[in-house]
Point group: C2
Chain length 377, copies 2
């Protein structure tokens, strides 16, 4: 292999696929970045077996040469160094050449790196599941779904299935749920085009995190392919494929209450800031636990940490129905839930002081944030 490649295009591709490469891979060849060069394009692959990212750089684009291919070929470069090197060299073009004795030369006018090649034949064959059922969705919509649910996925491996986000496709609707058993987030999206199939899968939180890091902010269409134990996200020249979590996700439908004894609507910012300030004292002394005293004309957020002191924050509700209530919960979880609601007015609905309560944007049931109260004695 011997090529001259535009440095900026190379940086972008390597940056993208690097997110799938962990430095502690069991298979040493997976610490590498696979480059496959033909006369049409270069395919760049990074993988850690669970997650694979593939991207393509065309040799020509709009009559501009991006890669000047002297000899096609396949090489595997040590991923850890390549990104830093190509970011730090100066020229606009980089020459890459496989030379004798298992070395790859990466050079510019003043710099010459010789990096050990990794054995191409040991790199696993990764099939992208582009022949499986799929649907297409706006990247902005899908990123919002992920942002509003992902933070509720468990980080505790004792129930592995809860470390993913549950996606249910049924009757033109996509329902996403995450829970760590202390809180739950659910988002329902109507799919404008019927996908023509039903599906019930659990995508690892790690995959969704890498997806958010890999895709940029531009609004575009992304296509999701659903295999038996894999999911593939693709947009433009990039493919992100992940294994799915195996097992049955718990039934969460009946966890979300539908009848309430107390309901209030309050300014989102005022409530967020009051809880945020109360957390200043609650976060160390009381495991983030705060109290809400809800009355018709006044909400008080309080903490009481004798070692440090106490806080009393007042917020005036916009609307209130039902019974006054005193309830205790984790302030950090409440802030996470509020951050996931894009709204000026938040409605909070309670079923007494020991039952889960829900937070929603006013007059919107598409996103539900559910929190369990904390029992204090």
């Amino acid at each position: 292999m011997k090529i001259n490649i535009s440095r900026q295009h190379f940086i972008k591709a390597v940056n993208t696929v690097s997110k799938a490469i962990t430095s502690k891979s069991v298979l040493p060849v997976l610490n590498g970045l696979k480059l496959e060069v033909t006369h049409e394009q270069m395919t760049v692959t990074g993988s850690n077996t669970e997650l694979t990212i593939v991207t393509h750089i065309p040799c020509k684009q709009d009559d501009q040469t991006i890669i000047d291919v002297i000899t096609p070929g396949i090489v595997i470069l040590p991923a850890k160094y390549v990104l830093d090197i190509i970011k730090k060299v100066q020229d606009n073009t980089i020459q890459l050449e496989k030379i004798d004795s298992g070395l790859i030369r990466l050079s510019t006018s003043t710099s010459e790196f010789q990096l050990n090649d990794l054995p191409v034949e040991e790199y696993p064959i990764i099939q992208l599941i582009t022949d499986q059922p799929s649907f297409t969705i706006s990247s902005t919509v899908f990123k919002t779904i992920v942002r509003q649910t992902l933070f509720c996925a468990s980080t505790n491996e004792s129930r592995p299935i809860l470390t993913g986000v549950h996606f249910i496709i049924e009757n033109n609707e996509l329902r996403s749920i995450a829970t760590d058993s202390y809180r739950l987030a659910q988002k329902i999206v109507h799919l404008p085009k019927a996908p023509g199939f039903d599906k019930d899968i659990v995508i690892p939180a790690k995959t969704l995190n890498e997806f958010l890091k890999t895709i940029d902010d531009e609004e575009r269409l992304i296509t999701l392919y659903f295999g038996d134990n894999k999911v593939l996200f693709t947009w433009e020249d990039t493919y992100l494929q992940s294994r799915l979590l195996e097992g049955n996700y718990p039934q969460t439908n009946r966890l979300i209450p539908t009848e309430f004894t107390t309901e209030l609507t309050v300014d989102h910012t005022a409530l967020y800031q009051a809880i945020d300030r109360a957390l200043l004292l609650a976060r160390e002394a009381e495991n983030n636990v705060i109290h809400l005293n809800i009355q018709a004309n006044k909400i008080e957020v309080t903490t009481n940490t004798p070692e440090i002191g106490q806080v009393r924050e007042r917020v005036t509700p916009e609307l209130f129905t039902g019974e006054p209530l005193r309830i205790t919960f984790n302030a950090k979880y409440a802030l996470d839930a509020l951050r996931a609601l894009d709204t000026d007015l938040v409605t909070i609905s309670f079923v007494g002081e020991v039952r889960p309560f829900i937070l929603r944007a006013k007059n919107d049931v598409k996103v539900t944030q559910l929190l369990l109260p904390v029992h204090t004695y």
Copy 2:
């Protein structure tokens, strides 16, 4: 004590003195922030016994009321919480009041914090040494002195005296030296006004670091007072006083060579970037060790790390005199030294491959960066 205080002025003062407060002070009262309110001003103090920072907020400034004093007094607030609280509350004015039972109430229109007071009588009495010999210097000049030397101070406590920066005032000159015994930095500044005294002190690196964090970027005059075992920096309403390191700083004068066998002058940026790239491979496999091959018309920066690969960087010298040379050194130290030289052209002077070499801005002997070569076998 009872006052209403401008939140912005309070934040600025607390932010400044907080830098002297460690959370693990042996004396519990030093986890606190001391506020002394008179009808003229509030004095805010933070201290960890080694370092003390004091700042003043006037009650009135330019006919504006900054502090409305209802009752003067002294309180000590838990420093850890106060800064976060006053940053996060909303109003422009904060009310502070010492209430019954050892509590201080900090309140705004919607927030009320009650914080445990710390015992005022246990707070140590700190005398600022404003009666000692002093001189005044531009803050920009003094910050540059510190920035060009401080990084060479040792972080190893086995020779405590080397964890400070040596300041020598003699014949209208201020000479500053720091060394960790692998490298050395020296800066000489002519003092425009004769201070009228000689002095030889070692200021802890920690103090100089906090000084850099505490002072802002505006150019102003700072006054340095020199006591027997203390130094005091003061500017505007702020006082930063520190103990000095005790012991004899090693004689460093004769360490700096004055006659050379090889000298070269090279573009600062080109050399910096070449070493920075070589470090990408050298940093893990070789303890940051790189080689310089110096010839009349070519400098090569190389590494050789068989596990990963090798680098060869070429830089063309602007000037060269003396013998060709191959020398081995720590790339990280070389980058630190280059960063401390504000210059487009750097002159490097060698006395063979096993003796210390020095880096200076071309035609400038005020700043000297000295590095020891690494012996490889």
